[in-house]
């Protein structure tokens, strides 16, 4: 019983982180699906979302606002607006001019953008870790006879629920709305879609905006869950989320969700049963194994080679 509780606790920990990874992974997977490039700066957009949310929360609290849901909603909106503007601007400045060139060019441009944004925030806000207030506290505790107590915090529930809502909304948006249909058309065949009268530039911008907004949601949630933010934390999270996207099959939205959850759980299980030192080794090793046996990821469409 004791062991089962321990296992479930680690599973909950992993699923929490995993669902947040999935939110960030959406940005990678949608951009890759449409223009076939790795948006390395996406992790930084997530970081900027977290910073904006913290600025908004601190500002609102200083103004004397005390009603928690209002603070959260306003902070979330601020973060989403700033992040999505950032996503839009990054695409316009760094990616659109190099679109269609050799595949390495946009990648280098993206790495450059990532370094730029990291240092932009570093210069503006300093390099130190800043504490993020824990606004949602408390949770449920489950205990057997043993000493070990399993806990499921409200924060973790919030992360699950928000991710689920975001994913459902996104799936509906992609499958039902006009823009969503256009997105799918563009990802199938960009040239053909533009021939059919779809404004592809608009759709690509929309993709960046959607990805960045979801990253901002993740920024706020993970900021509160972890407890501190710094200008470098976006890069690591971005790398993980990108791994999750590749794991699930890049270009596929359910794949991003699945990849995120698998990555999160495998990380927490490694820390829980082996040692935290090796969790990155295990997650990258897992990625390599999956790619070796299924080179397009778990849910990716097999690429047909042109002949």
């Amino acid at each position: 019983m004791q062991d089962l509780l321990y296992f479930s606790q680690q599973l909950i920990n992993g699923l929490t982180i995993g669902s947040a990874y999935a939110l960030i992974a959406i940005g990678y997977t949608m951009v890759y699906g449409i223009i076939g490039m790795i948006n390395f700066a996406h992790g930084e957009i997530y970081m900027i979302g977290a910073y904006t949310a913290l600025i908004a929360i601190t500002g609102l609290t200083a103004l004397g606002l005390a009603w928690l849901p209002l603070i959260l909603i306003v902070a979330l909106l601020c973060a989403m607006i700033v992040s999505s503007s950032m996503g839009w601007a990054v695409e316009r400045v760094a990616y659109r001019p190099v679109r269609g060139r050799h595949r390495l060019i946009p990648l280098i441009s993206a790495i450059g953008m990532s370094i730029f944004l990291q240092n932009y925030v570093h210069l503006a806000q300093g390099s130190r870790n800043i504490g993020f207030p824990a606004l949602i506290e408390g949770g449920f505790n489950f205990s057997a006879d043993g000493a070990f107590e399993m806990s499921l915090s409200y924060m973790q529930i919030t992360i699950f629920v928000t991710t689920l809502v975001c994913m459902t909304a996104l799936s509906l948006f992609i499958s039902r709305s006009r823009t969503g249909r256009a997105c799918r058309a563009v990802s199938q065949d960009l040239g053909m879609a533009s021939l059919l009268g779809i404004d592809t530039n608009r759709i690509i911008s929309a993709t960046f905006i959607i990805g960045a907004s979801l990253a901002a949601v993740a920024g706020l949630l993970l900021g509160m869950y972890y407890g501190s933010i710094d200008p470098l934390f976006g890069f690591i999270a971005g790398l993980k989320a990108f791994t999750a996207a590749v794991l699930g099959g890049i270009g596929s939205i359910p794949g991003a969700m699945l990849g995120g959850l698998i990555l999160g759980v495998s990380e927490s299980m490694t820390s829980g049963y082996l040692s935290g030192e090796y969790k990155d080794v295990v997650s990258f090793g897992l990625l390599i194994l999956i790619l070796l046996f299924k080179p397009t990821g778990l849910l990716g469409k097999p690429e047909v080679e042109k002949i």
């Binding site: 595949r103 060019i105 450059g112 925030v121 990258f284």
Partner: protein, 423 residues
């Protein structure tokens, strides 16, 4: 149309405000145990507003600006000229390279010690970039974990010298061979992956190797790194003030000159120079051999190359192995120069910088890569006064370079043979 233009400009200006105002306009400050929000200095706010206005003006009158820019006399008067004839170009390039090498030979004797030390670092980067150039520039395989092989070379020397007391000259080939072998072993399973998947898998390998070095404390010393790595000797002569190993003599005593720390720095520099030249020559040779052509063929059109009977795995693997081999070379020199290595010298940013050198130099072009290595290593040193802004500028430069001159400083032109006209 005009109204549309203004609307777009206004939109851009508002976006500028949105992305810069919250981050720049408010500072999160720790006051005691609490975080407080303070407004930034007025000058910052004014700057943000000015930036927004500038964006508005530029976007609104974009067409006229661009027109003006087009009318300006060309910055580079030679830009419009016909490209030089192939044979002449190749000849000139080898002259320039020879010139650089000759200049580099005499350079350490006229400049200060700090510059020589920096130049050694530049040479190490040149070796790394030349090696990565084979993988990325010639074979078109995107490798984001190149630093792993650099680490293998450096750690091979460090560990061998610690456990067996091996000298630099013995460790150099061993380190390079081991790095090449690692490249081959790692490359074998992953090279069938396509483009971006390969990128992320190599990135993963780079991280795995670094984490293993950091965690395997009993062998590698973990985060403590390995110190006391010997410097290279010249026919058994050491360059230190005191002799560290028995049986060796010291350089300054043998020649009866006063001890000077500069000898060591210059000697290391010369070794790095010779190795860099060897690297360049060998890779140059490879480029003209069938295997070099095969790399490029595979890069340009994989299916066509395969249908001509090229073995995809063998060709890719050879590029990967050769690239890794030279990274090991560079790693050994690095370990010897530092005298101390730890995993923190082999992080992802290092891979990104080497990749940036290759791309800035113009993928495939050796001369370009050499110039880019010099620029990327020296510019941050020169800009130390702006050290706060160093990485910011570096990032922005990478983006701007890709937007304006993606072919790099000196793009490679295809090596081709024109048939002699039959008279």
């Amino acid at each position: 149309m005009a109204a549309n233009n203004y609307r777009h400009a206004l939109f851009c200006a508002i976006v500028t405000l949105i992305i810069s105002f919250p981050i720049l306009g408010f500072n999160l400050e720790a006051k005691g145990v609490n975080i407080e929000l303070t407004g930034a200095k007025t000058s910052t706010i004014v700057a943000v507003i000015l930036a927004a206005v500038a964006v508005f003006v530029f976007q609104a009158y974009r067409d006229s600006f661009m027109g003006l820019l087009g009318k300006l006399p060309k910055l580079n008067p030679l830009a419009g000229r016909e490209p030089m004839e192939q044979s002449k170009r190749v000849k000139l390039e080898s002259w320039v390279l020879t010139g650089i090498v000759v200049l580099a030979l005499f350079w350490p004797f006229v400049v200060s010690r700090g510059s020589v030390d920096l130049a050694t670092l530049v040479l190490i980067y040149i070796m790394l970039a030349l090696g990565l150039n084979v993988v990325v520039g010639l074979a078109g395989l995107l490798d984001l974990g190149y630093v792993a092989f650099y680490a293998v070379g450096a750690y091979t020397f460090a560990l061998l010298s610690q456990y067996t007391g091996i000298s630099f000259w013995m460790a150099l080939p061993i380190g390079a061979l081991l790095a090449g072998l690692t490249g081959m072993i790692l490359g074998f399973p992953v090279l069938r992956l396509r483009g971006d998947y390969l990128a992320i898998v190599t990135l993963g390998f780079g991280e795995i190797i670094r984490i293993l070095l950091n965690n395997w404390t009993t062998l590698t010393g973990g985060p403590n790194g390995i110190g006391g790595i010997p410097e290279p000797t010249l026919f058994g002569m050491e360059f230190g003030r005191r002799i560290k190993e028995e049986g060796n003599t010291s350089f300054h005593e043998t020649f009866g000159i006063a001890y000077s720390g500069e000898h060591k720095v210059i000697f290391l520099y010369l070794i790095a120079l010779v190795l860099a030249v060897i690297t360049a020559l060998i890779i140059r040779r490879f480029m003209r051999m069938p295997v070099g052509r095969a790399w490029e063929a595979l890069r340009e059109d994989e299916i066509a190359a395969r249908s001509l009977g090229l073995s995809r795995t063998a060709v890719k693997l050879s590029a990967f192995t050769i690239g890794a081999f030279f990274a090991g070379f560079a790693g050994t020199v690095f370990a010897s120069k530092q005298g101390f290595i730890s995993p923190e010298s082999f992080v992802f940013l290092e891979s990104a910088i080497i990749l940036a050198i290759v791309v800035l130099g113009g993928m495939g072009s050796q001369l370009g890569v050499i110039l880019a290595a010099i620029a990327v290593t020296i510019l941050p040193e020169l800009a130390r006064e702006f050290s706060e802004y160093r990485m910011l500028i570096f990032g922005a430069a990478m983006v701007l370079m890709m937007v304006w001159r993606p072919q790099g400083l000196l793009p490679m032109r295809r090596i081709h043979i024109t048939l002699n006209k039959q008279g």
